[in-house]
Amino acid sequence: MIGIIDYGAGNLASVRYAFEKLGVEVEICSNPSLTLRYSHLVLPGVGSFRMAMERLQQKKWPSAIHEYVAEGRPLLGICLGMQLFFDEGEEHGPSLGLGLVPGQVKLMYPTDHLNVPHVGWNRLYQRYSHPLFEGIRDNVDYYFVHSYHCIPANENDILATCDYGGHFVASIARHNIVGMQFHPEKSQPSGLRILKKFTDWNGKC
């Protein structure tokens, strides 16, 4: 069963509906002591890095998420959810992240005076093959809406980039952890296909 982490920030319903549409069992999880009930866990995210971390801490999520990851089960972060996996963010002042993936989260500075936030449909450039994107062509567009981007310390953690006034990290993979800066739950059939790949993944590469 898929668990969606509820830490009281924003809209979890869209993510839940997307998994329901795929016909997989899914549940909103508000209790950190229950994470091991799930085969797959998802950290969605809307709002700012700092506020989201404060909420996760208030509800005692960080240690529960670390314990879950230590079991080797798949964890997916979407948008801010992926950003929270990193060591540190700077949105509305510096704050520590979950520290699951080494690196930083910083404001985007695209070249050519492109707009920030980066809003709309854009394609990926995969760095290597991974079960998450198996059989999916690179030129498919997904929906992005964000002002900050992840800067992993390890090149190998970068699964795919996206070009917006320079390449930035659009997807990460580190052991049993994957993340997407775009919103698969808002990317219509193309996005649902990726969520399906996640549900079929056992956390091993």
Binding site: N11, A13, A18, P117, G120, R137, S147, Q188, P189
Partner: protein
């Protein structure tokens, strides 16, 4: 490369979908539930749902259609109409909106934009600017669904709202609304150059050439349209293929 967007706008009134000319003479254009499902099946890039009666009737009708859209359609949704508080914004986001449009309150309570950007992130706050020419032909911002004039210049207002934290600007020409004679390219370009956030041009699209003009000849990121899709057999699939043939980068679905 980021693709250009074509965004259908659904105006809601009394739970029905309507479309007017210059913000009056509204005609019934059908069931919003049906429209949402059709636009989803046609893979529209995004949808904007605006309740023009929310100020008097509250958000019930808008919340209902948002719930349906979020449950059945896995696409980006912007909701607006009568948004005056952080609670309004939170409620619409929880119902399934990805972005919330604030219009009248950008003039009557601009601090809302700043607070909302801090609470929810600037990427989910869209500032709506409706404008029309005054008696001397000078464009001014209008509020309350085009019922009340202000002395504000649309370009200055857009700049101010982007500085406050609006993540996107929906710029709507009242004079061109529903007239299907093309967008106000000059104003769209002026605003898009004045701010560093994405601008959506709205008001006036009557054919696909109008969409191409705005997307090729101005700095806007997206075009919104209503009449174009309501009246006649045009749809987002045809729009996308026309624009692609014009050399405009549009989304690849597979």
């Amino acid at each position: 490369m980021l693709k250009k967007r074509v965004i259908p706008v659904l105006l809601l009134r009394d739970g029905r979908m309507v479309k007017g000319k210059r913000f009056s003479d509204y005609r019934d254009t059908g069931s919003p539930q049906t429209a949402v499902r059709i636009y989803s099946a046609q893979d529209a890039d995004e949808l904007v749902l605006l309740d023009i009666q929310a100020t008097t009737n509250g958000h019930r009708a808008l919340l209902d259609i948002l719930h349906l859209a979020a449950e059945e359609c896995f696409m980006p949704l912007t909701a607006g109409g009568g948004v005056t508080s952080l609670d309004n914004i939170r409620e619409l986001l929880l119902a399934g909106a990805d972005k919330v449009l604030v219009n009248t309150a950008t003039v009557t309570r601009p601090s809302l934009i700043k607070q909302a950007a801090e609470s929810f992130g600037n990427q989910c706050i869209v500032a709506g600017i409706d404008y029309r020419a005054d008696d001397n032909g000078v464009p001014k911002v209008w509020i309350r669904s085009g019922h009340e004039p202000t002395s504000l210049d649309p370009v200055d207002h857009a700049r101010h709202l982007a500085d406050l934290g609006a993540g996107e600007i929906l710029l709507n020409s009242i004079d061109r609304d529903g007239m299907m004679g093309g967008y106000d390219l000059k104003m769209a370009d002026a605003v898009a150059h004045a701010v560093s956030v994405p601008v959506i041009a709205s008001g006036g699209a009557g054919n696909f050439m109008h969409l191409a003009e705005a997307l090729s000849n101005t700095a806007v990121s997206a075009v919104a349209c209503a009449s174009l899709f309501h009246f006649g057999d045009n749809n987002p699939i045809r729009a996308r293929s026309y624009l692609r043939n014009q050399g405009i980068q549009m989304r690849n679905l597979k």
